[in-house]
């Protein structure tokens, strides 16, 4: 990857952040005297509001692309039907079987090792291999065609991997190459069971998005985890939520405050056969997997990018933005400034206050001059 072209790409991608600034209330080119019409004319603010009602960048981040069937004529229709029969009638049962066999082998090996093997080192090594194997079975169950670019991650202390997030399958795809310890939202159901019993053995850490106290506990666990040379490399999805792989939302700064090397991973899905975005509000993870398992293939590129370090004088937020820029450029995504948690919460009044401050200051300044 030529660094100069990346830099150029990043320059092109910058303006998006400016969306954040309220364009309406910015002072005019030359501060004129304040007149009645300046106060009465609220059209810029109204236009901004109407613009957000008609279209907004946040909603776009979570819009799933509906599949486009190609059954539109008499020649293609039988072919398409045949495809459906193959996908649902042959591929899906075969893949389910693969998955089932995979699980049986996995459990048959995992539990004895987990409970009976005494040697700490050997045990975690076998467990690691088993988890990697199980993830490969998963990837095989959607005929994952995954291309990995760049050097494979190695186990060493003081490094953290960050990747853009589209679905929980990101984790599976990355995990089949390297047993990462991942930071993830606690899930209910069978996913929760796997998290609790299996993934904890590779050092994964769970949190609850809605629990504020949880945050400090998790932050402490992270700091401890990265110091230890024996631990599996840490993987964080700093967006904190699944985005549709065309946009990225704000990176949360937690991963960038650990004081260690940050290794960006860019993941880009090819939507040719199936949209890998998991819209967790509309679909359970099981249904999401069924959708993947009934498609022809999941095509995906993974890039391991160069490790980055906090520069002198750089804040954690700036660092996070810099790493996000790298991932955005590599995976061809668009940036929005919003926090992904706005899916669950209202934006803080801070943003409104910022707009009010700029407007108030320009009014006061112009009043003084008149």
């Amino acid at each position: 990857m030529a660094s100069s072209s990346v830099a150029a790409d990043m320059e092109l991608d910058r303006p998006n952040l400016e969306d954040y600034l309220p364009s309406d209330s910015l002072p005019q080119e030359s501060p004129r005297n304040l007149h009645l019409r300046d106060l009465l004319d609220i059209s810029p603010v109204l236009t901004e509001a109407a613009g957000a009602i008609v279209d907004d960048s946040f909603t776009r981040c979570f819009k799933s692309n509906s599949p486009e069937p190609w059954n539109w004529n008499i020649y293609l229709f039988p072919l398409w039907c045949l495809g459906v029969v193959i996908r649902y009638g042959i591929l899906f049962p075969l893949r389910s079987l693969t998955l089932l066999v995979g699980w049986i082998v996995f459990f048959a090996a995992f539990f004895p090792v987990h409970f009976l093997l005494k040697g700490e080192k050997l045990r975690s090594k076998i467990e690691r291999k088993l988890v990697e194997m199980m993830c490969s079975v998963f990837v095989a169950s959607w005929t994952g065609v995954i291309k990995y670019h760049g050097p494979r991650p190695s186990t060493r202390p003081r490094q953290v991997f960050v990747a853009n997030h589209t679905s929980m399958i990101d984790f599976i795809i990355l995990e089949q190459m390297t047993a990462f310890a991942v930071i993830m939202q606690k899930h209910p159901g069978w996913v929760g069971f796997i998290q609790k019993t299996i993934l904890e053995s590779v050092g994964c850490i769970w949190f609850n998005r809605n629990d504020l106290k949880d945050r400090e506990v998790v932050a402490k666990k992270l700091r401890d985890h990265v110091q230890h040379p024996e631990n599996n490399p840490l993987l964080i999805f700093p967006e904190g939520t699944c985005v549709n792989n065309q946009y990225t939302v704000m990176f949360k700064k937690g991963a960038f405050e650990l004081g260690c090397a940050v290794c960006p991973i860019a993941i880009k899905y090819n939507k040719i056969f199936v949209d890998a975005f998991w819209n967790s509000k509309k679909q359970s993870f099981t249904m999401h997997l069924v959708r993947l398992m009934t498609s022809w293939a999941v095509v995906c590129d993974v890039w391991y990018l160069e490790p980055q370090y906090l520069k002198d004088g750089e804040t954690a937020i700036q660092f996070a933005e810099r790493v996000r820029d790298m991932i955005v450029a590599r995976a061809g995504l668009k940036k929005v400034p919003w926090d992904g948690y706005l899916k669950y919460n209202r934006p803080s009044p801070k943003h409104t206050e910022e707009k009010q401050r700029i407007f108030a200051e320009s009014v006061l300044r112009r009043l003084e001059e008149s």
């Binding site: 007149h35 603010v45 957000a52 008609v54 401050r357 009043l367 008149s370």
Partner: protein, 175 residues
Amino acid sequence: MGNTSSMLTQYDIEEVQDHCNHAFSQQEIVSLYHRFCQLDRNGGGFVSAEEFMTVPEFAVNPLSQRLLRMLDGLNFKEFVAFLSAFSPHTSLQQKMEFIFRVYDTDCNGKVAFDDILSILRDLTGSFMTEQQRQKVLIHVLEEAGYTKDSHFTLTDFMKIIGNSDLKMEVEVPID
């Protein structure tokens, strides 16, 4: 999602177009319909204030609470009518009427000092004191030949801001 456009017949679209004085093309109406369905999460056929507030870019707007009073519970026809003020095909007169309606909360056809002050309060929040706001407002009113007790009609609004290069346009994305 992809089939929602088929739920709008030519009739429906024309009816909506009539309702908004042909401010939008048929394609734009279809786009707006998609958007409407997206905002109407529970599929009730209208968008509640709560649902509008799920759009962060709208929620952070200083005038959002005020606009919600006009927006809450709109059905599709009313939704398009609301947005028609932001169409390039809408006359300046109609745009002014819209702005006037935002000010004129009690709908008596007159905007008083307090109405303007109240908008200014929304726009400046805690960054100006109430005294500062009053002082500013009285200052610009007097400069323009009005007083604190003046009442503004739509004609006054036209005179004050209507002649300017008012740009109140929103583009409807067509996919």
